[in-house]
Amino acid sequence: MTRRRSVVLAAIGAALAVTLPAAFAGSAADPGISPTSIVIGGTSPLTGPAASYASVARGANAYFQFVNSRGGVDKRKIEYRIVDDAYNPAQTVQAVRRLVEQDRVFAVFNTLGTESNLAIRDYLNQVRVPQLFVASGATTWGRDAAKYPWTIGFQPSYAAEGLVYGQYIARARKKAKVAVLFQNDDYGKDLLASLKLGLGRSGSKVVAAEPYQVTSSDVGSQVAKLKASGANVFCIFATPTFAIQAYVFANRLGWKPLVVLNAVSGTSNIMVLASEGGKNKLVEGTITTTVLKDPTDPRWHNDAGMKQYRALLARYAKGANPNDVYHVYGMAVGYETVSLLRRLGANPTRTALMSRARSISSAKNPFLLPGVSVKTGKGDNFPIQQGQLQRWTKGRFVPVGGLWASKRN
């Protein structure tokens, strides 16, 4: 009996002696980098109130698989771990710690949601893991780059977007009375504040603003209050589910304002849903902005980038709806990530990744609108700072004016 026990103890001791040094022996490469793979990871809402954004991760993954089929980056295959956080920041924190500490990812990539990214930013900057191409337009990603050097955004900032809407409304309507529905967090407040800035002293002004909580079930009461304000312009700064509800409720109340819809919901598939099979006339004339090529737009029917998009989606994301423009976003960010990784050369490090991410000059992303470039540099920490205003007209988006560009953010 005692002998057997000592054998067991010796075996455990031997096993520890063998495995522990191996566990602590550091190799030259950064975590997540092996001769055959680069492991990155990020959270995405696969369930919950914002599950429609899951397409962003799916689109990016499809692009990585395509690159992998062509030999990957420097013979390394990109492995993209997508973890569900149900759009719940508390879950994001746990999932991201898991990605960093257990899965040992090279970088946290494309994590979606303003609140979710705010919840993990301090942690990632302390452990010096890149928080690459945050899928949120909050202004803080670019504005606070000095304080958070390991974090970088991607899409145009909400501050730039709100400013453009404000300027447009000021031009298009004399003395407009604007009502705003916004999500009660940094994202909604960013848009609202910059909208007011854009309206300036034009005589048009915000007469009512109603917040909603991301956990609430509908926005009916908010829309009713906004209608009661007598506004003739209705700004919907909301995620897709709530944006569609806003159209439906406003229509039922017989309200007929000019609608300005934020870019995160301003996609053709959402407009089709909101139009309730043509019954809801309120969607007609909606103003929004975009940087992406719309897969349903006949203009891009023969476009090389969009042909590639459709082929890749059919091949690497079976069953995915090609008309869902969030897939295009995913591929666009996937494309930039691959070019960034290529620039790291044979021995990628996290430090090099961030320094290259702050010196991007990419003018030909095939999934972005022609003329929209991805650029960062000294003092410029906002990758995309351009966009195209567009109007929903008879079942599709038509561009309004040329590309807008934001200097500051």
Partner: protein, 383 residues
């Protein structure tokens, strides 16, 4: 087994389990220790819920709300709420907030126990559910105290034990260590030991409460309120007491949850959490304590397994092909979260249904049956 033997056997198993808990971190990866810390936290909450539901027969669908009260108490004491315009300054070290978290949640539980006296069965379940539903909005309503929807960030605060930990070497994302009481901990190991030492004390506490007079009164209330009253058990006293104790347990668990996540916001304690806790005690076995460890493992890990995060270590390779799991008859499921919206929920549901078929009385019921088998064999041999 005679009751005396049973008690000795119980002590031995508990001591063995405590030793197991003590040495476990030596055998698992640093991050795994954090996963198991959450198991300890859920165990505390499940112990409390089982005192209320399993022993006293009062169904609560709102225990996540009591966890939220504890979690916010801890977070506000640590970070203060002056940053939101509230009156409370920061500065309480994390572990000292836990007794307060338990106390505050316990008092709220006692207060809730009073109206609960008039409700029973499904009506009580609905009333507690309403608390869980109302909790996120209530937290947002008092923004200057709670930070509203944005929540309270605890990461990096000096009040968080181990926030001064430094990584050795080049890789800053490697486990960071710090000194405490002459011992060296990684942050994850520290969290593990904190959660489990409280969980073991909570376990012993629950056992002490339930073994004597109070426990008997609880069970009497559960089995028949009329019979309990006619035997001189005060319904009002014991129902509110059960609510109070149970909520205090949940409060401590919530406080630990906030420390472990280093972040709280209204969604940290969603309605689903209350449901998961109830699932946890059903899986663990109503009216038993030891099975709850398995219930806690279930609550902490099944959502991850269902998402395929850890599936590789659980299922044989033949079942996993690339990104899909093949389940006979039901077909293939995508996993690794990639492109299967709803997939995790389906896996979760299937596992739960199977478990209830195989173990209708939960894991605790299984333990009891094994114990009975041993007793029967011994008695039949004695004849």
């Amino acid at each position: 087994m005679t009751p005396r033997e049973q008690r000795i056997f119980g002590f031995v198993v508990f001591a063995a389990f405590a030793v197991f808990v003590l040495v476990l971190p030596q055998f698992i990866s640093d991050f795994r220790a954090r996963d198991y810390a959450y198991v300890g936290i859920y165990l505390i909450a499940l112990l409390g819920l089982n005192i209320l539901t399993g022993y006293t027969g009062q169904i609560s669908l709102g225990h996540g709300a009591f966890m939220a009260i504890g979690g916010y108490t801890t977070a506000i004491l640590m970070a203060g709420n002056e940053q939101f315009g509230g009156p409370i300054p920061s500065g309480v070290q994390d572990i000292w907030t836990l007794p307060v978290a338990g106390l505050v949640a316990g008092l709220v539980g006692l207060a809730f126990g009073l109206p609960a006296l008039r409700l029973s069965g499904l009506y009580l379940a609905l009333a507690t559910f309403a608390v869980a539903v109302a909790m996120p909005s209530t937290v947002k309503r008092f923004e200057e105290y709670t930070g509203g929807g944005q929540g309270i960030q605890l990461f990096g605060l000096p009040e968080l034990t181990g926030s001064n930990a430094v990584a050795s070497g080049e890789d800053f994302s490697a486990p960071a260590t710090f000194e405490l009481l002459g011992l060296t901990f990684t942050q994850n190991d520290w969290m593990y030991y904190l959660a489990w030492s409280i969980a073991l004390v909570a376990f012993a506490g629950a056992w002490l409460i339930l073994r004597g007079r109070t426990g008997r009164a609880f069970r009497a209330v559960r089995d028949s309120e009329t019979a309990a009253v006619s035997s001189g058990v005060s319904l009002a006293r014991y129902k509110t007491l059960a609510f109070g104790i149970s909520a205090a347990y949940a409060g401590v668990a919530g406080g630990l949850f906030a420390i472990a996540s280093a972040f709280v916001n209204p969604d940290t304690f969603p309605i689903a959490l209350s449901i998961f806790l109830l699932v946890g005690i059903v899986v663990g076995g109503l009216g038993g304590l030891s099975g709850l460890v398995v219930g806690a493992i279930f609550v902490a890990f099944l959502p991850l397994w269902a998402q395929g995060q850890d599936l590789g270590s659980v299922l044989p390779d033949s079942v996993i092909q690339g990104d899909t799991i093949s389940i006979p008859i039901l077909g293939d499921f995508l996993f690794k979260g990639t492109s299967a919206p709803g997939g995790p929920a389906i896996v979760y549901g299937i596992v739960l249904i199977l478990l209830m078929f195989v173990l209708p009385n939960g894991v605790g019921g299984l333990f009891r049956r094994i114990g009975q088998l041993i007793t029967n064999r011994r008695y039949s041999r004695a004849k």
